[in-house]
Each structure stands twice: as structure tokens, then as C-alpha cells.
Symmetry: C2
Subunit: 404 residues, 2 copies
């Protein structure tokens, strides 16, 4: 008898028919002799509908009250799923975040799970119940409702799996697993059978958002084996774990992120410590910097370029505008017409030719590279936004399609 | 500084505009130096919409899961009202039933409040917050969500008022108070300034459902002064209390209930104890019997007639059909084409002419009386359903309109 945690996203429970489908998956797992804990998100557009209701009344509502409002979404989907399972004749109980022992930090709207006390869940499993738990939510030390932020239901599922030492944590979604590229855009994209936590983390931060990255970090920390799979086709999905036994693939995927902007600080005096000061200013305002390029100093000055999330660009510019005089730089240039295209794979560590292959693919497609960043298992390039889709196609063809 | 509990029903918060109106009432009360605890129902048709969602999936869902589902309705309205009050610039916090200390029995779908622990509410009031509490819900000793049954938000409000020794409990609704008859049907209907708990209870059980009767019973028990008033016109409403200081009105209202049916057991042998046996059988099945008429024995048999709620008629007939042979009766006759019209007033105790006036009004209107029941402060007659509206008009004119 195994303990399986199954998480279903909003699109998997969007209406009565989908809820019945999920009930069928859950009860099949239960029938096979497993203990099942199910984590469920709010139905389809419920969360957006609730946000609209709030905005109509008060666009600047407190985050505490927003959490109170939004946490009703999972309450509805969890109880409906329980009713569907009752209809199929299986014992079931639905639990809210606070009932399921989810203790979080006090940061409304973006709380982190501090601890899961699975006592109540365990008691219900001992009574042979299937247990449905509302994802995305918990309770803080003031006994107030909190939400984990968008995508937090993945984290809820992994947290339960960790607290209960589950044998498997299945993340059901509307794609069949993790692909070498976005399958809706690259017809040749292939589903991966296995991927490591680190590769998955790189893919998640690169805009191939199959899993919320907090959930992958937590799975890595507590050694929880994840499976990403589709609630509709029910085929085996992609297993995410520490080490994959098959020979490491050279690269595991190509991802594109065009939700970024490039900022260049021009004419920075060539003195030590100025770059550090710029980035610590940004960091203090919670603005994360990604690819960084520093030009070679000339005439005693240099240019420092970096990328930030597009929605942080205005804040970064405002901050830097008041600071460039202090450090003696001459100006700021911004460009939000850029895309970051990256390849990820644990295998590239031992294959120095990977970067060259990637650049060659882009060169052959006549795509200009603006900036480059590399890590042990990732290479990212910044290019013109209009070239993004072509770049992904070219790189994907180079690494996956010609090797067939 | 007074402590005021204000309860707003679903129609008072049905959309953003109505929510803002309620926020205005609440903050006006707060501005006048009062501590304010607000109890709110689910918005407009939310509860019915949620029930529809459930029925689509499972028409026989457990009551536990229904309570889990339905309690989300007040969570939404409470947080939206809090956001509206934030918009007006006042400190506010919304609390769910369990956060507000509502402990109930375990009867899902129709729980009763066992205890209110107002510690958290008090703490929030001490912080100068306006406190919004979800009505209609609580938590039982298993830490499960429960609902109090329809109309239970009135009871939630009175329970808080009792637990906190509030100075006043205002029940805001879509009528301006308690009337001498249904103002939508009787143009001459008058609003009462004051009414006693007992009169209100009789009116509530008679179908003039301005207040849920559990809430009136609780208000009577704990001496909580209630005010029924409109959230739209904001005029002074009707005060419900123990003793009214003004001279007691002869009668306080006319009410009609046509959600009943008459059942007659024909040819019951004229032996002692048989009537008792019939009613104890019905009582054991939770079927409440109202007006009872027993014909005078003739030829050694008698007929026993009584009324039941219309939705209990089939159950009563099924039960009695299997029982009439046992007691030697000859048959059953049912009639659901009846209405009960009643007058209520603490003054009638000392005025024996009231019944005669009522019967005279009906006689003048040529309306036949089938059955009569009286108590210290109530007289009810059973008449043909088609005559119901005319009967109310005739009685209302007799007691109220001609006395002007």
C-alpha cells in the first residue's frame, strides 16, 4: 500500500464533467490499494472572477481581505470534488488549509508554508477516507487565512507529500509532461520520461512554467519524486527526481521568456565597486537581475547591461535615474523588445560543444545574439523579441530533430 | 459608546453597489462612536447557485460536504464588505465562523449554536476595528464547517449580541420593519414601532417570515433588543423586546400561510387513546401537526382532522395508510387547497371580543371557516386557499383600517 498525493489544477476541475473525470482518477488510485491525498486548485476562472468582484468594490483592497476572498475558490472545488467521489461510492472528506494543518508565514497574498501538521489528514486516512485538501492556502499564526500566491497549489501538494513521506506526488495538469520545447509551438517537441530537479528548476525559471519552482525546490529538498502528467489523456508523464538512471540527455529542453526587459547604464566610471552598488540598490528594492553584460572599459568608462522582469522595469529605471548622477554615469537605455532563449540539460556540463552548437543554430538562422549567460546546466541568450519563436525552432531542430 | 451588532441579509449585499451601501451604514454607526460587529449573509443568489453546482455533480451529496461548499458564500460577502469599508477609510477585519468562535452541534446542514467564544472579536474591537463576521456558519467539535440552516444568519447575529452583551442587535432586511400584514399585498398594512418577542414568534411561525424564529427565541432568552429595519430606506424600523411600553395593541398583525395541507382520518373508533397514538406516530417521524379538529363521536366513530406542512403531507399519508387498519379507522381524506389565516397580539388575552370580530369579518366577506385554533395571543382559522388573500384583507380592514 502506497501513499500517493495527487494535485489537480484549475483546468482539470473547471466544470462538472472535469470534476467527475478527476473523481474517476482519484478513485482508481484508491481502488488499487493506495492511500490517496488530493490537492485541488480553484475551478477554472474562479480566482480571476473573484479578483474582478473585489476590484469592482475596491481596487486597493488589503491583501488580508483578498486572501479571505480568494481562499473560498478552493473551498468550492474541494467540496465539489468530494461530492463527485461520494457519487462514485467511495469514502471521502474534504479539508480546508487550516483543517489540514497548513501553517504559513504572515505574508498575505504570497505566504510560505512554515509547517504542515498532517495529524487530521492521517486520522482521515486511517478511517479509510480519500482526503481532499484545498491547495494554495493555509493559516498564519494569527489564525488568519493566507494564500501562497499563484501556482502555490503545487507547493501545497509537495509539502503534504514531504510531511507525510508520500511515495509519489503526481501533479496533474493539461499537458502530458515536460517537453523539450513548448509543444503548442514546436511540432517536433518531445515529452521527456525523466528530468532532474535542477533541470526542472531551470526550465521553470525560464518560462516553461509546467511546475511552480518553489514546489520543485521543496521536492528536491525532501527527496519527493514528482510526476507531471495529464488528467485528460492519463498517459505516463514525466518523472522529476534527483538522479535519472538512463544516460543523461545532452540537453533536456529549449525555453523562451519574453517577459523581460534590458536596461543599460551608460558611461559608468571605471572604478571598482560601482557595479556592485548598482545591483545592491536594485536588490534592496526586490528587483532581480538576470543576464549581466559589462563592456570592456574605454576612455575610463564602461557600460553595464542586465535584464529584469518586464513589470519591474519602471521601478528599476526610476531607482537608477536618481542614482546615475551619484555614481557619475551618463545615461540609461532600456529595451523591452527582447527575448531570452535558453537550453537546459544536466548533460552539458561534460560536453563543452553544446554552447557552440547553440550559437551555430542561431547563426545559421541569421539571429543576432545580444547577450549570453551560462551556468553548469543552462545557456541563455538574449535576442530580438521578434526572433524568439524562430530561435526556439532552430535550436530545437539542432538538438532534437536532426538526431532522430 | 455602545456595542451594536448589525446583520445584513443576502439582498442587502447582492452586488457591489449594495455592498457599498452597507459599508456606508456600518461606518456611519462606527463614526457615531459605537463599536460595530457586522454579521453578513451570502450575496443574493450565491447559496442557490452553489446548490445548483452541487446538484449537477451529485444530487445526494453528504450534508458535511454541502456545508463545506455553502459556507464559502458568506466568506465571499464578508471579505467584499470588508474591502468596501477599507475603501471608505475605516479599520476593518472579516472573520469566518470558526475564527469568530462559533461552536455548533454536529448536525450538518442544520446545526445549532452551542457557544460563541467572542475572544477574537473582542480583541479586534479593542484594536478599534469594525468586525465583519460570516453569518449562518460555525465549526463543530470535529473542527468541521457547519451551517445553521436557512435564515440562520439572524441567529448568528443574536448569538454574538448575547455573548457580548451588545446594546442593540439590528437586523437589516429589504422591508422597513414588522407590518400588520404583508405590505406588498395589503395596501393598508401598517409598520409597527414595537412588538414583543412572543408576538414576533407567532408571526414568524405563521409565515410572516421577517425574522428567523430561532433568533427571536434566543433574543427572548438573553433579553437582546432587536430592531428590524431596511438597509435601503434607513428609517427607524420595528423594535422587538420583552415588554412594550406603549399601550398594548389589541392585535399586531394578520398573517397567511398556504404552505399547509389538511388530513382527516375518517371513522376512528370512539375509544380513548387513539388520537394520541396517531399524533405520537406522526411526531416520531418528525411531522409536526398544527390545527386539530375532532368531530363529535357518532355511531361509535369520529373523524380527526389536522394540518401539516405541505411538504410533509406525503410522508404523513404513507405512515397513516399503514396504520388506519390497525386502529380500525375507515379512511383518509387530504386537502392541500387550504390556507391558514391568523391574527396575533398580546392584547387579545384581555379582550374576549377579538375572536368574534375576526369571525365577523370573515362572515361579512362570505368566507367559510373550516377549522379554528386559538392560543393566548393568537387565533388561526383554516379556510379555502383561494379565499386567503381576501380573508387577510377583510380581517386587516376590520382591525386596522376602520380604527384609523
Amino acid at each position: 500500500m502506497a501513499l500517493v498525493v495527487q494535485k489537480f489544477g484549475g483546468s482539470s476541475v473547471k466544470d462538472a464533467e472535469h470534476v467527475m473525470n478527476v473523481a474517476d482518477i482519484v478513485t482508481s488510485t484508491y481502488k488499487n490499494g493506495n492511500q490517496v491525498v488530493v490537492v485541488v486548485s480553484a475551478q477554472g476562472d474562479t480566482t480571476d472572477d473573484l479578483i474582478d468582484k473585489a476590484k469592482e468594490i475596491n481596487p486597493n483592497a488589503s491583501k488580508r481581505e483578498m486572501d479571505m476572498l480568494l481562499s473560498s475558490g478552493e473551498q468550492i472545488s474541494a467540496s465539489l470534488l468530494a461530492m463527485a467521489i461520494e457519487k462514485l461510492g467511495y469514502p471521502v472528506v474534504s479539508l480546508l488549509g487550516w483543517q489540514a494543518g497548513f501553517l504559513t508565514t504572515t505574508t498575505y497574498g504570497n505566504a510560505r508554508i512554515k509547517r504542515v501538521n498532517p495529524e487530521r489528514i492521517r486520522k482521515e486516512l486511517d478511517k479509510k477516507n480519500i482526503v481532499i485538501v484545498t491547495g494554495f492556502q493555509g493559516v498564519n499564526r494569527y489564525d488568519d487565512m493566507t494564500t501562497l500566491g499563484r501556482g502555490g497549489s503545487d507547493t501545497s501538494a509537495v509539502a503534504i507529500a514531504a510531511a507525510m513521506h508520500a511515495d509519489l506526488c503526481q501533479i496533474y495538469t493539461d499537458v502530458e509532461g515536460v517537453y523539450t520545447a513548448d509543444p503548442r509551438k514546436i511540432p517536433g517537441a518531445k515529452k521527456l520520461d525523466e528530468i532532474t530537479y535542477d533541470e526542472m528548476l531551470e526550465l521553470a525559471t525560464l518560462g516553461a512554467q509546467v511546475l511552480h519552482n518553489r514546489s520543485v525546490e521543496m521536492a528536491k529538498k525532501y527527496h519527493i519524486e514528482l510526476e507531471v502528467l495529464s488528467s485528460l489523456t492519463r498517459k505516463p508523464g514525466t518523472i522529476v527526481k534527483e538522479d535519472i538512471k538512463v544516460e543523461k540527455m545532452l540537453i533536456n529542453g529549449v525555453a523562451k521568456d519574453d517577459n523581460i526587459a534590458r536596461i543599460s547604464v551608460i558611461g559608468v566610471p571605471d572604478k571598482p565597486g560601482l557595479a556592485f552598488k548598482i545591483f545592491s540598490k536594485l536588490s534592496a528594492k526586490n528587483i532581480n537581475v538576470d543576464i549581466i553584460l559589462q563592456s570592456i572599459g574605454r576612455n575610463g568608462t564602461k557600460d553595464i547591461s542586465f535584464t529584469v522582469d518586464k513589470d519591474k522595469m519602471d521601478a528599476a529605471v526610476e531607482l537608477l535615474n536618481s542614482y546615475i548622477e551619484v555614481i557619475g554615469a551618463t545615461g540609461l537605455v532600456t529595451d523591452s523588445n527582447v527575448a531570452k532563449v535558453s537550453i537546459v540539460g544536466a548533460g552539458m556540463e561534460s560536453h563543452p560543444g553544446v554552447a557552440a552548437d547553440m550559437f551555430e543554430a542561431l547563426f545559421s538562422a541569421n539571429i543576432n545574439i545580444q547577450m549570453i549567460a551560462t551556468s553548469e546546466i543552462k545557456i541563455s541568450v538574449l535576442i530580438d523579441k521578434q526572433e524568439g519563436a524562430r530561435a526556439v525552432q532552430a535550436i530545437h531542430a539542432k538538438f532534437f530533430e536532426m538526431n532522430d
